[in-house]
Subunit: 556 residues, 2 copies
């Protein structure tokens, strides 16, 4: 890797650049590799039927002997979601804080991988040396507890990776981000800053969780009805506020939703959630309480189809129905792409007589990501030589770069590159040096990577216009059609109303096949082409739709 | 209809209640019907392959002899889009202002219906009597010129329909809404107010177009580069501002995008757009200008896949490429559901070196719909006895009702009902009186209403997991399989990687069929069931996916 005697390292993001999700960054020197985070991404609308996306880890598999470990900044899906898939290929130690490891463990259990995994706890403030790297965890604020930034000492200097962060001066757990340590590290000299860009378009600073705390308490106090509140199951600070507010206002909390129950269990066991004695009750016990004594806490703040609140809004939940007058709080913000499902949930809840409160009407949520003033603060605490914006779509990386220039980082020292691009650094230089295999791998059901562009393209065609199957049986030797052509369709037209259309199409296909018989043609591809050509235009003329036409030939 | 001698009318919204789009309201007395607006709606994400939605007009067709005419409030798609489909079934006069009729004419030409249509112009301030109804058009502000509210005198009293509106005290065309006339009508007594609810959740008032005017002019002045600006093609006030700002800052405007060109033509011809001499030039002539002399005006503000700006962002436009430094302005707001496509467009534009400005960063857009203070103003100008909130999802209607209560409309005089529900009114009472056929009709290609829930459900299954076709030929008399079973799939797995899976599945199907042969079963449904059952679970176990399994049987 090194062409001169000058020490050199590489930073190679495999995900998280120009996308939100899939966070995974390789730090490599001539001997070893460490990897920061290992996340997944959720599919876009046009990735039909796909469950998850993860980064292409070919480079990691090809270099598995060099990898000393994964260092995980916090327990969100876009930072831990790919770990099971990675561990199936490469068994390396995973370093994280206690809560983060607890959530990883939960995930590994689902995959049956928890026995063999090496999970090594590192607390905020602690450091560990692996190979030529010394990694120090630094306490930072985010929308999940036990989140850390990382200072990585390398041969050429210190790299600071922010992970996902904000600066909350009045956080719920009473622990503001470790500004002093960040300042110290900055004064010792930081070569490169890998910085969270999510809110780089937003002016000012992020709301403190205390503001949301107060809002939730006020609503609990003023309402005479049941409170139904949904939030992200990993937002343990928010969940803490809900329990505290319930306790203060004489209410009890019942929870519903598998991921909510799981996370609350882990968080309580590990000491990250302090549930006041007697505040948590079973769902069925709420029947004996008065409405103003009840809080129902659940998933569904993003309108996810199978989540509790969404099912309740559709009248689909086996145990909970809306009672007119219920106060429903959506304590979250729409993740881009989910606006319509959330809106639908809200409409349904109103329609059933609930009073629905959401961000915009009240301060029901505070973001977990630094806005512009906090980003500038981070840069001024750290004063890196080089800035590598991460964790954002292009527009976010772009704005992060722009504000970095405003605070004095020279434009040529800011790098916005694609996933897979190798950035080499010496103690005073940084440059693009080629790239490694990278990309998105789509996971659908148990299949990893076998749903590629072809399958997606087929699904897209099928979703828009359906399929028309033309089946026929031929006598291979005599070039004669023995049965068919029969036409069946799915997702194209409503058959009962379109009999004539289908019969016409069958006639056209039959004529085309007769011509081929007359010419004694037995070649399957000629037959298929003739069938498609015969009805393609006809169907389009009659319907202005282009279904997938699939000839199915059987030969006797 | 009338059970007593007391005069009575009915108000029946056929669309636009609990949805945004499909606006169509029936006003009926014992002799006649008039219809207010005739709009369409755009499909949701789960309405695969559907082009448009329109209201079910069965009730209009069943009562066509009673219909005296359609009165159209303004030229937006969700108020005029269904007219061609309606006119095919019922040929009745269409009343509208000059620009509205011009846009309707444009649409009818596309359908070849312009020759037979009776389009009757009514100017703001004018009134006309048809049957027992007298309809008066009242000038109102909206995001398209020539928008009107309507005062409809009936046997029982005056109904005021707001259409879509805002109150802009400094509108671009210099014509504020006719507050005096609204006040007069209010003082004469209004029985029911049919009011636009779109922005009922938003506090305060809507920005005036003048604010946007200033912003656009500032950007044009300060930029030394090309300006590329996209907006809704029907936002003629905005287009006027763009031409005016261009003229003021020494720039020329070229336009691209079919709907933009069409609307600008109509609007100029009819006198709604005043293009300063020499400001409009052909696209190819911009080559000879300096960057700071150019404005390119186009469609694509919603990230629509085929629109000009979207194609440019993908590098797909035959005539226009981004030049680094270009200033791109998205002069619009995301319509809910379009956030991701717009975000993608923005990312791509940044990546190509453009400076992108959009609402939130600058005041690039003003809504066309009244916010809370304007809604209260309308209610206080009109002081209706009854309020019927329209043009909104349930949440919007709900909030409109809530603020109406705040200004003193009694709760029992506010009606939020479903489409199709008949509201009867006498001079002092209003009540729900049954309902008429109503609903959504999906239009896909040329097919109207033939894509129903079944077809959509099929398309959804196909889009998520694809289809597996099992074809076989049997000898009907001998219960023997002559050919197959052969398996073909589309959108399920990538065949080359999944040969083994498919072959295993074929074996399982073959065994199942052998069992049936042994029992001499020739019943097609038994065969189909056996085939599906044999591979259903197997495929799910192996892939965790549930494709549509389609047995195709040919019989000789």
């Amino acid at each position: 890797m090194s062409k001169t005697n000058e020490p050199q390292i590489s930073i190679i993001p495999l995900g998280g650049r120009k996308e939100i999700g899939n966070n995974m960054i390789v730090i490599e020197d001539d001997e070893n590799i460490i990897v920061l985070d290992s996340g997944i991404m959720f599919p876009q609308d046009d990735q039909y039927g796909v469950d998850l996306i993860m980064p292409d880890i070919t480079y990691l598999i090809d270099n598995k002997d060099k990898i000393l470990g994964f260092f995980i900044s916090h327990g969100h899906e876009d930072h831990i979601g790919a770990i099971p898939y990675v561990l199936r290929e490469i068994n390396v130690p995973i370093y994280g804080t206690r809560l983060t490891l607890g959530l990883i463990q939960l995930k590994l259990k689902e995959f049956g991988l928890h026995h063999d995994a090496q999970l090594i706890e590192l607390a905020p403030g602690e450091k560990i040396t692996v190979g030529n790297f010394t990694v120090e965890f630094i306490h930072i604020n985010h929308s999940i507890p036990d989140s850390v930034a990382m200072a990585i000492k390398t041969k050429v200097g210190t790299i600071l990776y922010t992970g996902d962060y904000k600066f909350d001066h009045t956080p719920i757990d009473g622990k503001p981000a470790n500004l002093q340590r960040l300042g110290e590290i900055g004064s010792e000299g930081v070569l490169a800053l890998l910085g969270d860009s999510t809110n780089a378009e937003r002016e000012g600073t992020t709301l403190s969780e205390q503001v949301v705390s107060k809002t939730i308490e006020d609503v609990f106090k003023l309402s005479n009805n049941r409170i139904i509140i949904s939030t992200f199951s990993t937002n343990i600070h928010r969940i803490q506020q809900i329990f505290t507010a319930a306790w203060k206002t004489g209410r009890k909390v019942a929870i519903t939703g598998r991921s909510m129950i799981n996370v609350i269990n882990i968080a309580s066991q590990l000491g990250y959630l302090n549930i006041p004695e007697g505040t948590l009750i079973e769902l069925r016990k709420t029947k004996s309480l008065k409405p103003n004594q009840i809080v129902l806490l659940m998933t569904g703040s993003q309108g996810e189809p199978t989540a509790a609140l969404t099912r309740i809004s559709r009248g689909d939940h086996r145990q909970i129905e809306i009672i007119p007058g219920d106060t429903v709080i959506l304590s979250s913000m729409p993740i881009p792409g989910n606006e319509r499902s959330i809106s639908q949930t809200i409409n349904h809840l109103y329609q059933q007589g609930a009073e629905v409160l959401y961000d915009g009407m009240i301060d029901a949520h505070a973001s977990g990501h630094a806005c512009q003033e906090e980003l500038k603060l981070m840069i001024n605490l750290i004063r890196p030589k080089f800035l590598i914006p991460v964790h954002g779509e292009y527009r976010h990386l772009y704005h992060h770069a722009k504000l970095a220039e405003q605070v004095g980082i020279p434009k040529e020292n800011i790098f916005i590159t694609d996933n897979g691009v190798r950035l080499n650094l010496t103690s005073d230089r940084c440059w693009v040096a080629g790239s490694v295999p990278s990309g998105e791998v789509m996971i659908d059901g148990l299949g990893i990577g076998d749903v590629g562009n072809i399958v997606l393209k087929e699904r897209k065609m099928l979703s828009e216009n359906g399929i028309v199957i033309v089946s026929l049986t031929i006598d291979g030797k005599k070039a004669k059609v023995l049965a068919g052509p029969d036409i069946i369709s799915r997702g194209f037209v409503y058959i009962r109303k379109s009999k004539e259309l289908i019969e016409e199409a069958q006639d056209l296909a039959r004529e085309a096949l007769k011509e081929l018989e007359a010419k004694n043609i037995t070649d399957w591809s000629a037959i298929k082409k003739a069938v498609i050509d015969s009805i393609d235009n006809y169907l389009f003329q009659k319907t202005r739709r282009k279904p997938l036409i699939l000839p199915v030939i059987m030969e006797i």
